[in-house]
Symmetry: C2
Subunit: 367 residues, 2 copies
Amino acid sequence: MTHKKTSDHLNRLKRVRLADVAEAAGVSRAVAGQVLNGSKGNSRVAEKTAEKIWEVARRMNYQPNPAAQQLKGMRTRMFGTLVASAGDPLRSFLVQYLDTAAVKKGCHTIIGNTIGRMDVGPNQFDYYIEELARRGVDGVFCAVHNWFDGDRKLLVQQHPNTVFYEDVDVPGAHVVKANRYIAARLATRHLLERGRRRLGLVLSDLNRTSCEDRLRGYRDEHEAYGFETDEEMVFDAAKHGGAYPWHDTKTLTWTFPDEVVDIAIDQLVRDEGADALVCVDDFWGATLLRRLRARGVAVPAHVAVVGYLNHYLADWTDPPLTTIDTLQGAAAERMLEMMVQLVSRGPLPTEDRVVEITPKLIVRGST
Amino acid sequence: MTHKKTSDHLNRLKRVRLADVAEAAGVSRAVAGQVLNGSKGNSRVAEKTAEKIWEVARRMNYQPNPAAQQLKGMRTRMFGTLVASAGDPLRSFLVQYLDTAAVKKGCHTIIGNTIGRMDVGPNQFDYYIEELARRGVDGVFCAVHNWFDGDRKLLVQQHPNTVFYEDVDVPGAHVVKANRYIAARLATRHLLERGRRRLGLVLSDLNRTSCEDRLRGYRDEHEAYGFETDEEMVFDAAKHGGAYPWHDTKTLTWTFPDEVVDIAIDQLVRDEGADALVCVDDFWGATLLRRLRARGVAVPAHVAVVGYLNHYLADWTDPPLTTIDTLQGAAAERMLEMMVQLVSRGPLPTEDRVVEITPKLIVRGST
DNA sequence: CTGAAAGCGCTTACAG
DNA sequence: CTGAAAGCGCTTACAG
């Protein structure tokens, strides 16, 4: 807490104050403040005076001092953006889009990496709850993957203006999420339309709602085409130890368990004769492409592959990976809309608190 | 500038003030402030009193209000991080690491996307210069690619505490950058050690210093091994219209010009018999892998390929791409060190203002 | 060694 | 319709 000042080189330039504008315009600070930053419209000031004040303020390039406004209890026009790690490709664009959307409303975002570098420090989730309150943010965007620790309930309690990205275990929370049911239908439809008839579905863990949603989408779309689905065509990675991408911070490489992917190929392609695979994410998709080639299976000639995420890697696999984009730009905009509502009018009606984003199919060479 | 307050739902909880601590400890605010947040050490307060104050502050969980401190001219402990787009894989980890490093010093970063979404708005570089000054940041990290517009001189003038990532055209600027000369030597050495003897070098534009550095590294390393180099083994993409990755925000895909890559293969592999290619970046590397396969050239059996960046895609190409990591984590830490120096002691001696980071070879399947 | 007071730049009751 | 004054939570001369 010991912040030395004496020797700091902050080089802050003298800025125009409200008082300067007031003086130049020949009015009191109260009136100037009322006109320039005030709340109740400009009702209390004569039209002419107001215009004069605006003119002077513009000429002097007056910008209110946010610290002073904050001290008086005004909005800071700052939001916190919590994310496990901002560099994570699954979140980095969301971080960017949230900021861009905030700037359009004259606001800014303070970034909070709750994990940061895995090798560097512990989970900072709770630290940020306190720190963001101290900084006086108007609200918090929480895009921390839900498999990371952190007291979400405390977050919402301390920051009622919190909007989550993706599901969270807090009743009544405000959430924007990608619709995985539709994602699965889009992938399935695309493959059926291309004449594929034996579609394998690769899931990470059927105990998760997100995977249930995919399974429903996969089934409903088959049904809509009058096709049957078949238990044997569904692969649940969780039953084989699971398969997740892992970034090794020592070797600076990503790894993904080939063994599990090979089991999936055995079951779906070799045994069940799948001619297409709908994957839970692009890491699965990319690894399948590589393992299928290693086993002499041509993509897309023999087997087509669809991923999910539209992660950076999708354009650089061979062949490039057809996948589903989660439209994080649209998600960010909806999150900001929600936040604006929260700040100006308080909590939304319960039925409006969960917004689902309809994802988009991106066709590339793997189908 | 009209920030309505009346109906805002900020829900700010009452926080413990310095005055509360002072009262509870039975001292004046001045003394409490001196002990808890003061500058000149604790010299002016009796040991016993100071301890008592600390004890009370801890018990009450006192945290100074940064807005009030800022108003009195103290550091805000906030830095701006300017970046063309925070989602950009070339920068997203740097953004994260800068924040993580800042947090370790009790500071935070405000993100500024100067481009944001290409389709959404104009360059915001100059806007941020003003806005960050208004917010009173202690300094600015500028990681905007130098091919984007923006008045860097104005930035440094308004924010003398600015640290750049990668070269910038401002005399005397504080800069941290990756050493591309060493990068080229590392790639060259690795290939020579693996027995390759005909190394092609793929550059983006020989008019850039960064490419000159690579060429020098490539030559010096050959020389160190007693091998000759050969003009014909250097491919300058700029002479063929250039080749850069392009993210199409409509189709949500990345594209890279296959035609130029094919010309490079014609020249280096077909005509000159290259058995290895050192590339200017991973986009080149990944596209070369794909085009070489399409032309029946086996990688790494016939031709080895080395990229540069260690971009996400490097682990998911087929084969995975050997490349050079630019160690953005280390860069971020050096940038923060520089910033701390700048804030506490002012500009560094001229000879210490440019720091080069030694990159690291990451070996994967393409060599 | 410690306290009372002024002031940073604003907003907002409260008087006129 | 407008101004003088108080106060947000701090820091820092200035007195004692």
